[in-house]
């Protein structure tokens, strides 16, 4: 006689079947969840793929080709990258862009902070001041640049006319290779409204008790600024610097328009007769990239320049974020 020590075969099969059904059900549920998530994410996924990933990968691929926009690209290996070292306008354009990043960006960020600080301390008319300083942000970059070229016209511009009345020297501004970039920096300072508003919000958010405690400890205004205000808003400063540096790396419109118009052109794309006017001082990296790609039909080389710009952007941003550990403070401590 045999004693059955296990469940009857049909019961075991039934349990296994139930378990399998539960697993299938769980998998279906998980798939539904994934599909739901994907459906919600799909606009972003499509946008990211079409407008970022695809152009990025395409640019990287084209950077290894000779491509004139009209015929099929031809693989040429690293020749485009090697040519950068010999390209006579490559390093001057790098220097011009570096000037904007190392001088114009800190000056503009500092100016935006000072304006925000002034507005935050204003007892009366703060709203009007905010509006006045923010308004230039609404001007399209081309129109704003044309306006500045007019204002700073060496002969007919109102600025030089006032300087003449005061018997002061009248600079050539956009027509002087030493003053063209400082003139563009002035334009940048005029349009600091957006970052000024962010600084202002951060300044108004600094806890009052920190100032009170510092005052009780005998800190004067400067010490309160250095030891309370700046550390508290340091994440915003980091944001301003990173976005400023990225804008500086991509600096194109204002430089191109100012150089073209001051050089006697009509600011329409397609004429390189006043390229970098005056004397190459406004030939920024993206301007040279554009010229190579769309005026000289060297899209492969322009793509290589774009890849280098992308890598530099990544490295600079990473370096800034890494340095933030030493000077950016958050509610939970250091960055």
């Amino acid at each position: 006689m045999t004693v059955a020590t296990t469940a009857p075969p049909d019961a075991a099969q039934q349990a296994a079947a139930q378990q399998a059904a539960r697993r299938r059900s769980a998998r279906r549920a998980a798939r539904r969840r994934r599909l739901t998530v994907l459906a919600f994410m799909s606009p972003w996924v499509v946008g990211f793929g079409v407008f970022f990933a695809y152009p990025l990968v395409t640019t990287a691929v084209l950077s290894f080709t000779h491509y004139d926009l009209l015929s099929s690209p031809k693989f040429i290996g690293l020749a485009n990258y090697r040519f950068m070292a010999r390209d006579p306008n490559f390093w001057p354009s790098v220097r011009n862009s570096a000037w904007m990043i190392l001088i114009a960006v800190p000056v503009t960020v500092a100016f935006a902070f000072c304006v925000a600080l002034t507005v935050s301390k204003a007892k009366r008319g703060a709203t009007a001041l905010r509006t006045v300083f923010y308004l230039p942000t609404l001007a399209p970059p081309v129109a704003a640049t044309l306006g500045f070229v007019f204002l700073l016209n060496p002969r007919t511009g109102p600025i030089n006319q006032v300087l003449a009345l005061l018997h002061l020297p009248q600079p050539l501004w956009f027509d002087d290779p030493h003053l063209a970039k400082p003139s563009l920096t002035l334009l940048g300072m005029w349009g600091v409204g957006a970052i000024m508003i962010i600084f202002l919000a951060a300044l108004l958010d600094v806890p009052v008790h920190l100032y009170e405690a510092a005052a009780l400890d005998g800190a004067n205004a400067w010490q309160r600024l250095v030891h309370v205000t700046l550390p508290t808003i340091s994440p915003v400063i980091l944001f301003a610097v990173i976005t400023g540096v990225i804008d500086g790396l991509q600096y194109f419109t204002q430089g191109y328009v100012a150089g073209t118009v001051a050089g006697g052109g009509d600011a329409g794309a397609g004429s390189g007769s006043s390229l970098g006017y005056p004397e190459g001082s406004t030939l920024f990296y993206p301007v040279w990239l554009y010229q190579q790609g769309f005026q000289y039909f060297h899209m492969g080389y322009a793509s290589a320049m774009a890849v280098v710009l992308f890598v530099i952007s990544l490295v600079v941003t990473a370096a800034l974020l890494r340095s933030a550990r030493h000077w950016v403070h958050t509610a939970s401590g250091s960055w």
């Binding site: 040519f83 006697g264 390189g272 006017y277």
Partner: protein, 447 residues
């Protein structure tokens, strides 16, 4: 992992194939002349707008009258960037008229515009019916992918009243005369700034660019070895030294302030020559139409640009560039055949050329039209017809790099005239290297 690599490879291949579009074109053989005249509608793009587009429309009507089976839709306001985008997108017009001869090299070398050679041969079009300079800027390395459709010719404009007031009875014929007369005619405000300029020798001012006056020194862009010859051709240095001497005689700073005040007035009624603030100027034949329309009261004359004192025989020549008309590679079959008929008509038909020249005030580009009694030039415009037909008249070389050669030289002379160009021979040699590098890049890859 393997499938990821596979996907990456497939994606890369797809990108290479699809991202760049295009495909080859250009080299074509014309089919036999069509015997049937099946009705067909084609599109012609040009950069003209307003009144000028109307003139094109009249020429197109004339074409339709003789080619009744072909209907042409003329679309204006289309520049070269739009033409390039349309070719890449596969929706280009059947025929395109470009204002920029600088683009020809790119259109021909890439095959974006078809080689017209076999059509020209089939229909026995006489290329010599186009004056030599226009033959030059419509072909690239032996490939003729465009025909000329009116030209821009440059010369000297002078204000006759101002010349007379300064005691001159004729325009200058040599570079030194131009400098002497201009300095005498330049007047100043009490603060020392220029009130009226005799001539503005600054490169970059209006049409005063090296390319436009180079034929007056016989300066050549390319040497026998096919390389840039700015340093090896001594005429460039002679021309630039004359220009620098001229600038220094008036004062760089004064000229800079004077030109800075002009803004974008060149193509407006405030043009300094038109408003009497400039006694002499280098400009194209089209200025006569601007003056007739904007300042008919102006008393002026036109002449060839003054030449190098050491080469008086060059007097009479000038610089020429012009419009191109061709067939984008996307036009096929009956439409391509009809487009060729239109291109041929606009470029070679004497009646069409005369109609366009009289209406647009550009120089016609066939010998027949230049000698046509139906051409109605005023005395000022007629001078440009003479300059165009002068054997010394020259154009800039056609390259696959667009205007890179001119831009690179302009960038150098910008420094040169400011006094920071250094040794001229070394400077020009450096520009030669830059130009050769750009051309090498266009010929198939970075050097």
């Amino acid at each position: 992992m393997k499938s990821r690599h596979g996907m990456l490879a497939a994606t890369t291949a797809l990108l290479l194939l699809s991202a760049c579009g295009g495909g080859s074109g250009g080299s074509v053989s014309a089919p036999p002349s069509p015997k049937s005249h099946k009705p067909v509608t084609i599109t012609l793009w040009s950069g003209f707008t307003g009144r000028e587009l109307g003139i094109i429309g009249r020429a197109v009507q004339k074409f339709h009258a003789s080619h009744s089976w072909i209907t042409v839709k003329s679309v204006g306001g289309q520049d070269d960037d739009k033409i390039v985008k349309a070719i890449r997108g596969g929706n280009a017009p059947d025929a395109a008229l470009s204002f920029s001869a600088d683009r020809l090299g790119s259109y021909c070398s890439s095959g974006a515009w078809i080689d017209l050679g076999s059509y020209i041969k089939r229909d026995k079009v006489d290329v010599n019916s186009f004056p030599k300079p226009s033959q030059g800027y419509t072909s690239y390395q032996g490939t003729r992918c465009a025909l000329p459709a009116l030209a821009d010719v440059y010369g000297l404009y002078y204000n006759t009243d101002m010349l007379k007031a300064a005691g001159f009875s004729a325009p200058p014929k040599t570079a030194s005369e131009l400098m002497r007369m201009a300095i005498k005619m330049t007047t100043y405000n009490s603060d020392g700034s220029i009130k009226v300029a005799g001539f503005v020798p600054m490169f970059g001012f209006y049409e005063m660019v090296p390319a436009h006056i180079a034929p007056s020194w016989g300066a050549k862009w390319v040497g026998a070895d096919g390389k840039s010859s700015l340093a090896s051709d001594p005429h460039w240095a002679t021309m630039l030294k004359w220009q620098k001497k001229f600038v220094d005689a008036i004062g760089y700073d004064k000229l800079k302030r004077f030109t800075a005040s002009t803004g974008s007035s060149e193509f407006s009624a405030s043009n300094l020559f038109e408003t009497g603030k400039l006694a002499m100027n280098v400009d194209g034949e089209y200025r006569t139409a601007f003056i007739n329309s904007e300042h008919p009261e102006l008393h002026y004359g036109t002449a060839p640009f003054p030449v190098d004192d050491a080469q008086p025989g060059l007097y009479g020549a000038g610089y020429v560039t012009g419009n191109l008309i061709g067939i984008p590679k996307t036009s096929t079959g009956d439409k391509r055949e009809a487009a060729w008929e239109l291109v041929k008509f606009l470029a070679t038909d004497t009646g069409a050329q005369v109609l366009l020249s009289n209406g647009l005030r550009n120089v016609p580009t066939t010998v027949g039209a230049l000698n046509s009694s139906a051409l109605t030039p005023d005395p000022q415009f007629a001078k440009f017809l003479d300059i165009y037909q002068n054997p010394g008249t020259d154009s800039t070389p056609v390259t696959a790099s667009g205007s890179a050669d001119q831009d690179l030289l302009t960038a150098y002379v910008d420094k040169w005239q400011a006094g920071s160009g250094g040794d001229i021979h070394a400077g020009l040699k450096k520009v030669d290297g830059q130009i050769d590098d750009e051309l090498a890049q266009s010929d198939g890859g970075a050097p």
